[in-house]
């Protein structure tokens, strides 16, 4: 693919929402999500001569965005920011995530209570509208694992959503 600034800018503009949203929904922090999304596009710039066609670029961006966001999450957990605990209990979100909650919708907030691998498959399934077979291919994960993650994540989110709704209706 052509590496000219004009072509690259067009690619960034076409895919920025996708990449930023994947990073945001895995990380739950808009600042870090933007940083990760920028890094993903710079990596894409270097990889462009090896990529051919729009579908190749899209698949590449999805895969790399997921991996880089997960890496950032791991780094944050290693620094002891408490990210590892945030999904133990749906309501126990760490302070930095809570800070961004007003910017996020209810489903996005609940998504952050899932373990990171489940977040990845949920984002690819419901944001990117990919079939489980395609998610398995893109994340190089066994299909059975993808199905199991999706099943567990949807069940967990449904239970949390119902609980929240009951709490809300009780006043």
């Amino acid at each position: 693919m052509d590496q000219s600034p004009e072509t690259f800018r067009a690619v960034v503009e076409r895919h920025q929402a996708r990449v930023y949203s994947i990073a945001l929904r895995i990380l739950g922090d808009s600042g870090v999500a933007e940083e990760v999304a920028q890094d993903v596009f710079l990596e894409l710039y270097r990889a462009m001569p090896r990529l051919d066609g729009e579908s190749h670029v899209t698949a590449w961006l999805r895969r790399v965005a997921c991996h880089r966001a997960t890496d950032a999450l791991r780094r944050r957990a290693a620094r002891g920011d408490g990210a590892a605990e945030e999904y133990q209990d749906g309501m126990a979100l760490r302070p930095v995530v809570r800070e961004f909650l007003p910017l996020m919708n209810r489903v996005e907030q609940l998504l952050l209570t899932l373990p990171p691998p489940q977040r990845e498959v949920m984002v690819l399934r419901y944001q990117e509208d990919l079939e489980p077979e395609d998610i398995a291919l893109e994340l190089k994960m066994p299909l059975a694992t993808v199905r199991s993650y999706l099943q567990r994540a949807v069940k967990m989110l449904r239970a949390k959503a119902e609980r929240t709704l009951k709490e809300y209706s009780r006043g």
Binding site: P5, F8, R9, V12, E13, Q16, A17, R18, V19, Y20, S21, L24, R25, S30, E34, A37, Q38, F41, L42, Y45, N105, R106, V107, E108, L111, M122, V123, R125, Y126, Q127, D129, P132, R147, L150, Q151, V154, L157, R158, A161
Partner: protein, 125 residues
């Protein structure tokens, strides 16, 4: 299984649509893209073909230089060997001359000793 698409899944799909990136995101990405070198008289020299040609010339120069130095060393070696052989030949012929002179001196001395002995015998008789 997650196959049946119920209301909850529809809700998920709707709520998880891609969000727009922050304002100015593309500009910030473009600002981080490494700049290509400015066009100048040297730009042609920076092309890979030129770089390969210069590298090839350097390697060729080193090979030719190495071969030439080896040839010079061989010539110098041969010259030194010839000089040593010449010196040995000269030394050999000088030694032969000296030996001949020594041999000639020795045989003359024997003859003169024999002559002297016979004279003594004749006188005694």
């Amino acid at each position: 299984m997650v196959e049946p698409r119920d209301d909850f899944e529809q809700e998920l799909r709707q709520q998880l649509q891609a969000r727009p990136a922050p304002e100015g995101f593309a500009d910030r990405v473009m600002a981080r893209v490494p700049k290509r070198p400015a066009r100048s008289g040297w730009v042609g020299f920076r092309t890979p073909v030129w770089q390969w040609a210069v590298a090839a010339l350097l390697v060729l120069g080193m090979v030719v230089g190495g071969l030439e130095r080896e040839r010079q060393q061989r010539i110098e070696g041969e010259r030194a060997r010839d000089q040593v052989l010449l010196a040995l030949r000269i030394a050999g012929s000088t030694l032969r001359d000296v030996q001949d002179k020594v041999n000639a001196g020795a045989s003359q001395q024997k003859l003169s000793q024999k002559g002297a002995g016979r004279a003594v015998l004749d006188r005694d008789q």
